[in-house]
Amino acid sequence: MSHSLVNWFKYASPASFYPLAGRMIPYFAAAAALLGLAGLWIGLLVAPTDAQQGEGYRIIFVHVPASWMSMFVYCVMAFWSALGLAFKTRLSGMMTAALAPTGALFAFLSLWTGALWGKPMWGAWWVWDARLTSQLILFFLYLGFIALQSSIDDPRRADKAGALLALVGVINVPIIYFSVQWWNTLHQGASVSMTKAPSMAHTMLAGMLIMALAFWAYTIAVALARVRCIMLERELSSEWVKRNATE
């Protein structure tokens, strides 16, 4: 027990997390590439044509994983923010800041692919529907977080302000998730219908889950790479940076 506690605190310091993160990146990057190729193979080549939406439905193989990740990343940011505010660990703020651009990217991709799906299926790029609007708010929360952090010079104050924004904004995530149940939305409810012919639904579901895992691995790899950059930038003058940077 005491051993694991020691390890936790050991890796909470940038000096020891930096090399650990560096060792983990290649594995997550490789996993992202392999899972991504497998997901594309299933989504574009193996999965059958949808009875109602034709080939246009294939957009969901990137739309759903991007949307899931955009919500999940924000939750992880809120988790690190709470940890940072409670324990004042330097690493928490850096992790939150490292995740925000990737979350923003996925929120944008979710909206972009959603628009490209909406045009042929609904006849509109955009509607002010509860699901779409709350997802747009999530994208603005990410942009707001990035803008807020970059407008404050002192990293500790920037982390604190960002953490507050992340914690307040996380209320929006369940709103996005349950929006299709709470309001009468144009956006469909379940992403994969299990009531269709089982073999079909299973291939689609498998493709989507593999793509989601690929996006997950990608996010971890990219966030670790970014947190390493942030660590170096913030602690350029410290001894450990001089020792470790070239590793």
């Binding site: 080939e55 294939r58 790479a225 950059c229 170096l232 940077a245």
Partner: protein, 55 residues
Amino acid sequence: MQWNSFSDFVQMGGYAFYVWGSFGACALGMLLEPWLLKRRRRAILTRLSGQEHLQ
């Protein structure tokens, strides 16, 4: 395999613009982000090696 020919695959049953616009944007974003990070890291390392040089 769902496709009879490569051109069938490219045309995506008439949804080519929407399907490739979606997958293309994702590919672009997820290649651009690691590339920007690589550049950011290289810039930091250049700055660091400059510091060492001064000392």
